[in-house]
Symmetry: C2
Subunit: 295 residues, 2 copies
């Protein structure tokens, strides 16, 4: 078991953040959950168990010492307005907010920064995408994240800190945006609908359940020697149709798919998935259960 | 001859801008030269011939209608602090200043925007680089310009305007930064030095004289149908050693080169040059002299 750390988590009330705070708390770390949304926080399973800080990251007078003390690790998951991938606020607001907050933390002495990246950094590239594959984003969201990573990497030449850019692929689970595929699917299952409208479903994607993503983020945070770009992916492409069919089956439902109701998204290639050697090695080394589960 | 246009040029007192204002004025366009530097402007050949506006682009209260009237074309060349390619101000100051100024102009009705890009957007890629080659910048300067281009392209989905991203390769000539190779070389020639310290000089680069760059920028501005990424390059790689030797010879000097005095730059590939089909076609079509000059 690794040493207990004091870890500040931004976006703590978000889809990923909620699970990451839980995971870190369960592992015994001293978590500071940071968010703008107290009402949302009060409904989450970690409420009352970890220190909660409500503030606006963009406030120029943010007194980070007073608010957070001296966390050893920053896990930066905050990113407002998803999944509206094409809007300009990704560049105009989220990017400078994230950049200046992270730099402020680094200047105040944080030596390790973990940030959620996105597979949309890759843009319209097909097939297996590794940590060495160059990025070529085409969405406002993808470009903003890609730019944030590049400038944090450049900034490392000024002040030495560990950057763990955990590039997320597709995630599903509790707390997801209500417009997402799986939130819609869960709603259809709950309402015992007959028919579920979706795209053709032939897209090959790389999916992980949100609990597994949170497990991996926490594991990476415990291992600063694992850094740079870190793909957080299954490594196994699955068609969305099969994923949805298996999900429906596992819920014992007879929900019928209306395939082809929605068009395919223009900003996503039909088939791409991740190669995540770094996390894979970390999982092999650190989690004996991992191999057993896979057998 | 194309129709006379009202053209706002930012960075008008800069190395490229000075020549672009001259070229546009000589072609009969109505030029508005915009800069923060009046003293510098007063020394330039276009002073007194074109409208000059002094203001700070980053001033949030900038009244662009009052200052500029209604220009039809914006040529955005302003970019402070070159050639310090690694500093964070490219991201922290220049990028938002450029972005917000351009967007403000577009929102006020400018339908055509020409911006100077840079071959440093390509990063560590070797060989012939075309307008279709993906970008992979590694310097703060290169990433900031690359990001500006990407977000302006994204912005075109919100408001329709013509974006001409004129990607400059290497440029030499009057008014260049005193630390640049050719400014140093000119100084050595002026002082009748015996020895000129330089790198090994084996790097293959793509050079154009600044007057030719200004000629091309003006030509592109006159042709909005030529847009997107537009490489502004010779297309012919030349070793820096040969370029310098030829330059010294053409000045009738016997200056000796101390090759290998400076190391090669880590942030530049040893051999890369541009392919610029769009401008080449424009030159062929529009400038009969071009073919004659090449013969």
């Amino acid at each position: 078991m690794s040493k207990k750390k004091t870890i500040l988590v931004t976006g703590a009330t978000g889809f990923i953040g909620h699970h990451v705070v839980n995971e870190l708390h369960n592992k015994g770390h001293n978590v500071i959950a940071f968010s703008r949304h107290q009402k949302k926080a009060e409904l989450l399973s970690w409420w009352g168990k970890v220190k909660f800080v409500i503030a606006d990251m963009q406030d120029p007078n943010l007194n980070i010492r007073e608010l957070f003390g001296e966390p050893e690790i920053l896990i930066h998951l905050a990113w407002a307005g998803l999944p509206n991938y094409h809007a300009m606020f990704h560049y105009e607001e989220n990017l400078p907010a994230s950049y200046h907050f992270i730099i402020k933390m680094v200047k105040s002495g944080v030596k390790q920064v973990l940030v959620a990246g996105t597979c949309l950094e890759y843009g319209m590239q097909y097939g297996k995408l590794s940590e060495e594959t160059h990025t070529e984003p085409i969405t406002s969201y993808g470009i903003a994240k890609d730019t944030l990573r590049k400038f944090l990497q450049i900034y490392q030449q000024n002040i030495s800190f560990t950057l763990q850019w955990v590039r997320l692929f597709y995630t599903y689970g509790t707390g997801q945006n209500p417009n997402s595929l799986f939130a819609q699917l869960n709603s259809a299952l709950d309402h015992k609908d007959d028919i579920f409208n979706m795209s053709g479903g032939e897209q090959l994607r790389d999916y992980l359940p949100v609990e597994e993503v949170a497990h991996r983020i926490a594991l990476v945070a415990e291992h600063p020697e694992c850094n740079g770009v870190i793909n957080c992916c299954s490594g196994n492409p699955i068609s969305i149709r099969r994923l949805v069919e298996e999900y429906i089956l596992s819920h014992g439902s007879g929900l019928n798919l209306n395939l082809g109701y929605f068009p395919y998204q223009e900003y996503e290639p039909m088939a791409f998935w991740g190669e995540g050697k770094k996390i894979h090695n970390l999982l092999l080394k650190n989690d004996e259960n991992f191999l057993r589960e896979k057998k």
